[in-house]
Symmetry: C2
Subunit: 283 residues, 2 copies
């Protein structure tokens, strides 16, 4: 991580590629018990949050990620009422989930309260639903939360975490996925951010294999543009047991809320895995 | 443009964002009469071509751009037999166009022969169809080529150029689009690379307005991931006169060639312009 001549550049070793933004000013920095959080004002992308030097989000492009981790999963489940978000401390995913009027309760469990405090200050639009009576915000260990969840109590688990190193490492293995499957109802659905489809296909394959060891057996990876992440292209992977990924297209078409990227037509198109991915993720 | 500590970083002023790659070695450099062309070997992305310091393509991700500038346009036209490519010197678009067995002749007109010479050496897979008897490679001024094209002789014009500065500047205005429209048959189609959908929406709007001044009146912008370009998200804009953008879906589904990204399902999904774009490109 470097800021030089007013540019912040993230050199991402796993993909051998870099992304960066032109910086107008540094706004804040806090060292939490878990990680260092920095906020910059950019010239063209609004505010920028870094965690341990890695880009988390910008004002301008976070709608892509937040819409795509929330809406495809929620429109795939036939009737999602109880949702758990592991991670997601910036509250953008929570906001999208709460747009679904039939959702009755959402618990967001992020280990680091400072992420939410910084989001409230520098990304207030993402936190505008935090006071919704259906929302519960916890600052705790997500693995422990899922371990202690009542069996068969959750419709959709959303894992909205950082990269699989550091605090989020425990969210990418069989043990965690077993807790998720036990917490889910029979027709429940797990969705997790799964890094870059082009440059980290092996990681997506490894994730699916860990999910499979935990007894998930149906998988679908959806891709979407995300300029602020390495390679500018990102993915979410959905996992279920004995179920499919067709979705409530009519409900998506008739949704009562606005989206900026997600549409039912796009969702339908993304269900066809691009051939270069299908050749590797052949399960 | 800088190479520092084995990383090449392109800081792109118009979008206030940067992309970059980890470099293993510099392989070549040539100063043509038009521009400076450099070739690097990267650690993860194969070879990398720069023109005047801007990323043109990498071995690893160019299939996205080349498939998406060629196949949606060719499957939209009801029977493309005669195709002209303006620019496209790396020959990747030509290769994709020639995959369509019903295409009878393709002329590629790039101003800079050195781009093709470098592609033959460092991206030979893109040049594998250059000897196809249906292909004609010219190294000349693309504006002049379109001006001199027999009226009503072309089915599809593909403008596969660099950014709208320098040698390609003349490919983004009314005069050039008038030449294109005159060269096209009545049901012809123009498709042009149109930069970043999120960060350069204004440019796409300006392009469409210039096209409109030249009497095109139907437009459709399709987006796709392109990690090596600024923001990692790119677009092509199709323009026609009194015609639509539904496509030969059955032919696309039954195509006799392999694609790595393009599918008919994706094509269908992309015809719905994302809401954030539709709000700006309301014509």
């Amino acid at each position: 991580m470097t800021v030089q001549d007013n540019w912040f550049i993230e050199r991402f070793e796993p993909t051998g590629s870099a992304v960066g933004f032109r910086i107008a000013a540094k706004l804040d920095e806090v060292q939490s018990p878990f990680q260092k959080i920095e906020i910059y004002q950019t010239t063209d992308w609004g505010n920028l949050m870094l965690i341990d030097g890695a880009v988390m989000l910008t004002t301008r492009d976070n709608f892509l990620y937040h819409e795509m981790i929330a809406h495809p999963a929620l429109f795939t489940h036939h009737d999602p009422k109880r949702v758990v978000i592991i991670g997601g401390g910036d509250c953008g995913t929570l906001r999208e989930v709460l747009k679904h009027p039939d959702v009755k309760s959402v618990t967001q469990c992020d280990i680091d309260e400072q992420v939410t405090r910084m989001a409230e200050k520098y990304f207030p639009e993402l936190c505008e639903s935090n006071a919704d009576p259906r929302a519960e915000l916890l600052f705790d260990d997500g693995v422990a939360y899922m371990r202690n969840c009542p069996p068969g109590s959750v419709d959709v688990v959303i894992v909205d975490s950082t990269d699989p190193v550091g605090p989020a490492e425990g969210l990418f293995n069989k043990t965690f996925y077993e807790y998720c499957l036990r917490a889910l109802k029979d027709d429940g659905l797990l969705v997790q951010q799964s890094e870059s489809p082009l440059a980290q296909l092996e990681l997506i394959g490894n994730m699916r294999r860990e999910m499979e060891k935990a007894d998930f057996n149906c998988f679908k990876t959806l891709t979407f543009p995300q300029p602020c992440y390495p390679t500018g292209w990102w993915s979410v992977t959905m996992a279920r047991r004995n179920s499919i990924f067709s979705f409530r297209r009519d409900d998506a078409a008739g949704k009562t809320f606005h989206t900026r990227y997600y549409t039912e037509q796009l969702h339908e198109g993304l269900l066809m895995t691009p051939p270069f991915m299908a050749e590797v993720l052949d399960f």
